[in-house]
C-alpha cells in the first residue's frame, strides 16, 4: 500500500465527539485525486505500537490541495480514535495512504439516494461533492440522535434535498417513506451501523427493488477484545495479539508479510487460511460467507479475533 508523510494543517471540533483533520503535503505538492466514497489509511505511531485506521475522505474529490477526514472518538475502541483526538497536533506529520474506494457511486444511476447514520455521513459528504460537481440528481438522508452530536450538520449544505432526521426532536428516519415511489434508475447508498444497512436492504426487498441498486459500507473498526495467541505455521512462531491490537497489527509487528487494503473486513485482501483451530474464531468481517465463517477455515485478520486453545494460521 503506497503512502506518504503529510502534515496536519487543521484540526477542528465538529461536535463534542467528532474532530475534522486536514492533511497537506509538506511542500504543497498536489495529492492524488479520488472519487466520492474513498478512504485513506492513517498510520498512528502510539508508543511502541503502530496502528493503522481507515477513514473516509470528506473533502472535495477534485481538490488535490489536501485530504480531510472526520474522526469520532470511540472511548470503547482500541485507541486509534483516542490517539487522533488526544495526541495529534497541528503541524504533526502522519503517514497517509493513497485513497482507495470500496464505496463508489454507480454511474448507471439516474438518481442517487444517500442514507447515513451517525458518523456514516463521512463517505457521503465526498459523494455529495462529486454529485454537486457533475450536477447529478440526488437526495441525502442523515440520521442522528441529537443536534449536538450530529457532526455531519456542519458539513452538509442547506439544500432542499438534504434532510436531517434528528431522533430526539421526534423526527426519526422513515425508510419506507424515503424509498417508496423512487423512479427507476435510483441507486441507494447506505453507510452507518449494520442495523441501518440491514433495514435498508429489508425495505428495498419488500418494495421489490432489484438488488443491484443497493450499495453499502459498514464502518467497521477492528473491535478490541481479550488477548489471544496465534501460531504461524510457516515459521512455527507463536505471537500474542493484545487486547487493543488487531490480529493484522500483531502480524505486522512480528514482520509477517501480509497484504491489506481496507482494514475493515470488506476488501478481502488480508484473507488468511486457518490450518487448525481449537476454539472459536470471532468473525467480524463482511467478506467471508456464512459457510466459511462456520467452517472456521479462513479468517480476516484485520477485524477478527479468536478465543480458545489454539489457532494455527498458514502464514
Amino acid at each position: 500500500m503506497s503512502a506518504q508523510m503529510l502534515r496536519v494543517t487543521e484540526i477542528e471540533a465538529l461536535s463534542p465527539l467528532v474532530k475534522r483533520f486536514r492533511f497537506e503535503h509538506p511542500h504543497g505538492a498536489k495529492l492524488p485525486l479520488f472519487s466520492g466514497g474513498a478512504h485513506v489509511v492513517v498510520e498512528m505511531p502510539d508508543g511502541d505500537m503502530l496502528r493503522r485506521n481507515a477513514y473516509s475522505l470528506i473533502s472535495d474529490p477534485q481538490d488535490g490541495s489536501g485530504y480531510e477526514i472526520a474522526v469520532r472518538r470511540e472511548d470503547g475502541g482500541r485507541g486509534g480514535s483516542r490517539f487522533m483526538h488526544a495526541c495529534v497536533r497541528q503541524g504533526d506529520m502522519l503517514r497517509i495512504s493513497t485513497p482507495l474506494n470500496l464505496f463508489s457511486l454507480d454511474m448507471r444511476a439516474r438518481k442517487h439516494v444517500l442514507i447515513a447514520g451517525g458518523i456514516g455521513i463521512t463517505p457521503i459528504i465526498a459523494q455529495m461533492q462529486q454529485l454537486l460537481r457533475m450536477q447529478g440528481r440526488f437526495e441525502i438522508h442523515y440520521a442522528a440522535r441529537s443536534r449536538r452530536e450530529a457532526a455531519g450538520l456542519r458539513l452538509l449544505p442547506d439544500l432542499p434535498h438534504i434532510h436531517a432526521h434528528i431522533s430526539d426532536e421526534g423526527r426519526r428516519m422513515d425508510l419506507g417513506a424515503i424509498l417508496d415511489r423512487q423512479p427507476i434508475g435510483t441507486h441507494v447508498y447506505t453507510c452507518g451501523p449494520e442495523g441501518l444497512i440491514a433495514s435498508v436492504a429489508q425495505c428495498t426487498e419488500r418494495l421489490g427493488w432489484p438488488k443491484g441498486s443497493l450499495h453499502s459500507e459498514v464502518f467497521l473498526a477492528p473491535p478490541p477484545g481479550r488477548a489471544f495467541e496465534v501460531t504461524l505455521a510457516r515459521s512455527g512462531r507463536t505471537i500474542t495479539v493484545g487486547p487493543h491490537q488487531s490480529l493484522l497489527e500483531a502480524l505486522e509487528e512480528a514482520q509477517v508479510e501480509i497484504d491489506w487494503s481496507c482494514r475493515g473486513g470488506a476488501c478481502g485482501r488480508c484473507e488468511t487460511e486457518v490450518v487448525s483451530c481449537h476454539g472459536r474464531i470471532e468473525h467480524h468481517d463482511h467478506w467471508l460467507s456464512e459457510d466459511e465463517h462456520s467452517s472456521q477455515t479462513r479468517i480476516m485478520p484485520c477485524v477478527s479475533r479468536f478465543r480458545g486453545r489454539e489457532l494455527i494460521l498458514n502464514r
Binding site: 434508475g185 427493488w209 443491484g212
Partner: protein
Amino acid sequence: MPATKFTPSITSRPVYDGLTPHGAVPALMLANGPGGEALLELIKTDPTIPGHAHVIYIPEGCGFGKTLESKGFASYFEAASYASVLPRFRKLLAEAGMNTRLYLAGTEGLIGQATSEALEAGMLPEAIDAEHRGSLARRMQCVHCKGITENVTTDPFTCSHCGLSLFVRDHYSHRHAAFQGVCVDAETPGEIPPRQEIKA
C-alpha cells in the same frame, strides 16, 4: 410458435432466458409479432400479472392482439412499429418506479433496442426478462455509413442506406442492438458471393 433457439456459437450475441412470472408487481410489456403469444403464455402461469401491467404490442401481421386486449391489462396499446411507439415506451419508463419489471418478447431487433432504451433509463438488467420469438432476421448496422437495415435474412445483403453489399458478421453490438455488416467486395469490387439464407 415455440421460443426460438439459437446455436450457441456466437459469443457476443445476447442470450434471452425467457419470461418468468414475477407476480403482482408493476410491469411494462413490449412485444412484436409472435412475441404476443409469449405474453399470453406468461399471464396464463400467473393471473395476477395483467392487473399491474402496461402492454404495448406491435402485431406485424400476427393475430394475438384481440386476445391480449381482452386480458384485463392495466393498459393495452397497439402500434404499427417500434419507432412509432418509442415516445410512449419512453414515457412509461420515465414514470416507472424502482419495483417495475420489464417483459420483452419478439424479434431480436425489438428486444435489443428496447433493452438499451430501458438501461438508458436506468433500469437494471436483472429487472428485465426477454424471450426471443419469431424470425431469425438480424438487425444490421453498416460499419461504413452506420445506417441500420432491419430484418436482414440473407448474407450478403444490400445496405438500405448506402447500397454497399455487406457481409453479415457475427459481431453483435449491445449499444446499437445490431450485428455489424462489412463491405463484401471492397478488395474486388463487383465480386459478390452468392446470397445465402441466414440460418442462425
